[in-house]
Symmetry: none
Subunit: 124 residues, 4 copies
């Protein structure tokens, strides 16, 4: 059994940015903060911030213009795909956890609908 399950900071920051893109808080082509600002905002090391952008660029979610900065991709298909990847991840994790404790499909759906309803009400 291992104790150190900590998720690396750079992955956490990547998720935050991807979430902002996927929900539209960041639009295609939007400029992202400089690596240095990103480091300040999240209280992380500038090297870590740079790594965040490097990985985001590698997966096609962002692109970089030397001397200008880093931007959200303008490829809306890529963004839709990203949305789908994230949804799939969440759903597949959920399904494996819920089946692990022996819930039937009907119980799961019913419980889920109750939950969504109460959340929706809480927002109003």
């Amino acid at each position: 059994m291992k104790y150190d399950n900590a998720i690396p900071i750079y992955l956490q920051v990547i998720r935050v940015i991807e979430r902002d893109i996927v929900t539209g808080r960041l639009a295609p082509g939007d400029k992202l903060p400089s690596a240095r600002d990103l480091a300040l905002v999240h209280g992380i090391n500038p090297n870590t911030a740079a790594r965040v952008y490097r990985e985001l660029e590698q997966s096609g979610v962002c692109f970089t213009r030397r001397g200008l900065g880093t931007f959200v991709t303008e490829d809306e298909g890529r963004i839709r795909a990203l949305h789908e990847e994230m949804a799939d991840d969440i759903v597949s994790r959920f399904v494996s956890e819920i089946m692990e404790i022996g819930m039937t499909r009907e119980e799961t759906i019913s419980l889920l609908e109750k939950r969504i309803e109460s959340c929706s009400k809480a927002e109003n």
Copy 2:
């Protein structure tokens, strides 16, 4: 940014045992391994193992007999309640994650049903 996602070992072990109880791999009244054996099996310290059983007892999931060992509760209502707690936890985490990326209720249900179906097929 928080860097404290590590889940304590004793909680991880508690979850494993609770899962085994909830799925019936451990029946009401079953004897659990001695604290020392639990420590060996999971490669943890006997003290940590003792803590696992102490917490499980405090939450009414197990009970203890000095000199005899630790056993799964015989209160089946408590086990049903445990099942419900675990399901609620999983579902609520799922809902908050899925809403965070802006999925509607319909999209979620549809994606979910597809996933469950493919999992069910995989089992057959």
Copy 3:
């Protein structure tokens, strides 16, 4: 014959703190000494002191803020409930002891009132 009447240190310390809360010497929201200080004051191991606070938190009598310390609960209902629990414990122990030596209800009440009176006078 049992030779195990020893009350664990951590329970003794818990009682002292609970008594101070119930009598108002510790008010809701008051900060308790740090686990390390508690250990020094009572001449116990820091780990034992930590256990005291862990148990007090688990029973809802205290709450804990990482890096800040441990505090008396602000839920006055919980404190009233604690008072009641302690009173019930004392009374039930008393009743079983007094019935064990074959005292009638009237004898008990009469003896008790005499005693309370003399105590009250002693206080004035």
Copy 4:
């Protein structure tokens, strides 16, 4: 803070015998088991059993005839006094505990009467 509050075995056994005398389960003049039998019954050391009788004799509750055994005192006044001592002990401990947590006389009496009632019912 000290951990070892264990009550010595010989005192525990003394209490048991005194209780039996005071409730009439042992009548004045009754023969008590031999020290050796007492040791067997309670699972204690014969020396400890001997000490029990030594102390009971010293306080006038029992008397010993060489070669015959140990007997309950025939002095009924001593037995009544013993009863009173035990009642006083229990009551005084109770009063100090109950005042320590700030209970008024009325609360105490009321709680007590409820308790005695429910105990009496339980016996019927």
